[in-house]
């Protein structure tokens, strides 16, 4: 295990940011800390980096007790949401910063900077100032800067949060590929479940200062530990006393099938390739998503009477947790 977080708690005044958190983060993998804003995930990341100190508990990085170490002695690379570019230094000098601090020979620094700029596709911008780069380019520069010192772990705090949707998706794919090349233990914080599911090897779901579940994207999606995780990782709808994904529901028009409930369609919304149908079953409003072809073959309209059931082959649906 690369990073061990043991019984870590942190308060800001009356606000409990982290409540006795225990997490083991494996070496060489890409781990996501996922959760809603204000849930404590960024605080945890900053505690790992030493930018924040825990009130109690212990942090180990590669077997070394780092709890009391200052940030500059932890050898972690940290990437900030708003890049934290050194505005007065060129792109190359930004990347070279950590190496210059370590007093490496000039030739070595130049070679390493060239290599890293190539890795993040910024070679032609080496002499520009950060203010002359786009957001996505600045974040890639920040990543190269963090990688330059060959950190034991790379920590990214909402790295794509300040970028627009398209660049964000590109950088997300690029980060995954980069990690497959570089293999440094990487932890990134995100509140975007799609980003976590797509990029991470392992996801730690954090909410209200506590760890809700740790697992692979598949585990989390298919067997969520509780309602919170299920709701957070994707769309859900309630059918009777069960919590299900809208795409795990089927609509039938024939009638007479077992295990179905009957309702009336109240609304049909088309979102690209997906059709979202709202069905009123008694007092309950159930959401079902269909593909366009399924929808057309059923010939549904607002006001039609339909039967709803959980698709066969889907694992037993969750009963809603007692509150």
């Amino acid at each position: 295990m690369s990073i061990e977080i043991v019984n870590v708690s942190k308060r800001f005044g009356d606000f409990v940011a982290l409540d006795n958190v225990n997490v083991s983060i494996p070496s060489g993998q890409l781990t996501a800390l996922l959760g809603p804003s204000g849930g404590g995930k960024s605080t945890l990341l900053r505690i790992i980096a030493g930018l924040e100190t825990a009130d109690s508990g212990r942090i180990e990085i590669e077997g070394v007790d780092a709890t009391k170490l200052s940030p500059q002695k932890r050898n972690v690379g940290f990437v900030f949401q708003h890049y934290a570019a050194f505005k007065h230094l060129s792109v190359a000098r930004n990347v070279a910063f950590g190496l210059e601090i370590r007093k490496r020979p000039k030739v070595e620094i130049r070679e390493r900077v060239d290599e890293l700029l190539k890795l993040v596709h910024l070679s032609q911008f080496a002499d520009r100032l950060p203010s002359q780069l786009s957001g996505g380019q600045r974040q890639r520069m920040a990543l190269a800067r963090a990688l330059a010192v060959q950190p034991t772990v790379l920590l990214l705090d909402e790295p794509f949060g300040a970028l627009d949707a398209k660049v964000r998706k590109e950088l997300r794919d690029w980060l995954r590929r980069l990690h497959d090349e570089v293999h440094v233990t990487t932890v990134f914080v995100t509140h975007d479940q799609e980003e976590a599911l797509e990029v991470a090897d392992e996801i730690v779901v954090i909410n209200e200062g506590r760890v809700e579940q740790i697992g692979s994207p598949d585990e989390l999606y298919d067997t969520p530990a509780n309602d919170f995780v299920m709701r957070f990782l994707g769309p859900v709808t309630e059918l009777g006393d069960r919590l299900v994904r809208p795409h795990d529901l089927q609509l039938l028009t024939g009638g007479g099938e077992p295990d179905t409930v009957t309702g009336r369609i109240t609304r049909i919304t088309r979102i690209g390739f997906e059709i979202r149908v709202e069905v009123a079953v008694g007092e309950q409003l159930v959401t079902v998503t269909l593909t366009r072809n399924e929808f057309l073959s059923l010939g549904l309209q607002v006001g039609s009477e339909v039967q709803v059931r959980v698709a066969t082959g889907v694992g037993a649906p969750r009963l809603i947790d007692a509150v």
Binding site: G50, P71, Q72, G77, F78, F80, I101, A148
Partner: protein, 275 residues
């Protein structure tokens, strides 16, 4: 920067009227009076200037003023940058009180400052002064007292310039530097200082101008001894009261010249792309 073109595209009559008012106002308040000092200085050609430069006591006063100003600026810059970082980057009880206290020198009349310093450091009755004096260190009626008074009145200027810049720059660049292995001193030299550079330069220039021109506090603590503790501003007053208007204007002109030159130089070398 992007807002400039848009705010300057509409030039209605109101814009010109407002400009006119500002220009007239500044002309009568600042430009015209300062110009007249210059005009009076050179009313008889270079005579006034020459008579000043040839008087060893006045040359001494001018050099004393410059020395005091430089020492005071150095002290205020070191202290000011340190205090600014403390105020912006750290939380501690009494922070607001400290911040309010730092504005005191701007609100208290310099003459009160002078009297207060005498109460503390005065050689005979001061709270602290007799002790220092017995160790052979005279503060009041000597150069240290003048420096002290000057430092006091110019104290907030560097801080008030640097604090907003530090706040705007934020802490993340410094944290990034720390996580890349820089220690506190390296972070300050390589990251913090370059990013607050123009705030510091502006603060230094304002402090220098203020220090050169300090009058009230210095008058009280210096003793105003000709050729020893009389500074340039005191020379201006003395000459004026003794009906040597030419000498008074000439000294005043030199004082103003240095201060104005500082501000002009800075606004010229300061990069257009602000901070």
């Amino acid at each position: 920067m992007a807002s400039h073109p848009s705010t300057r595209t509409r030039r209605g009559p109101v814009t010109y009227l407002v400009r006119l008012i500002v220009i007239v106002y500044l002309f009568f308040l600042v430009a015209w009076p300062v110009y007249l000092v210059g005009k009076n200085t050179f009313a008889d050609g270079m005579d006034n200037i020459n008579s000043i430069i040839e008087d060893p006591d006045i040359v001494h006063a001018l050099s004393l003023t410059v020395q005091v100003a430089i020492i005071a600026v150095i002290i205020n810059t070191l202290f000011g940058v340190g205090i600014s970082i403390l105020l912006v980057r750290y939380d501690f009880p009494g922070k607001r009180l400290l911040s309010a206290l730092l504005d005191m020198p701007l609100s208290v009349s310099p003459i009160v400052v002078g009297l207060a310093l005498i109460l503390v450091y005065g050689g005979r009755n001061g709270w602290f002064g007799p002790g220092l004096e017995s160790m052979g260190f005279q503060v009041i009626f000597a150069t240290p007292g003048i420096v002290l008074a000057t430092v006091f009145v110019a104290l907030p200027l560097v801080i008030r310039e640097v604090v907003p810049v530090l706040e705007e720059v934020g802490e993340e660049q410094e944290q990034a530097a720390r996580s890349l292995g820089a220690n506190a001193w390296q972070t300050f030299l390589r990251i913090t200082l370059p990013s607050i550079k123009w705030g510091v330069v502006y603060g230094v220039v304002l402090s220098l101008a203020r220090s050169l021109g300090e009058f009230g506090a210095v008058k009280v603590v210096s003793g105003n001894v000709l050729g020893e503790t009389r500074t340039a501003t005191l020379v201006v007053e003395e000459k004026y009261l003794n009906f040597d208007k030419g000498g008074s204007y000439a000294t005043a002109f030199l004082l103003a010249l240095v201060a104005v030159a500082c501000i002009i130089i800075v606004s010229v070398i300061r990069p257009k792309e602000d901070r």
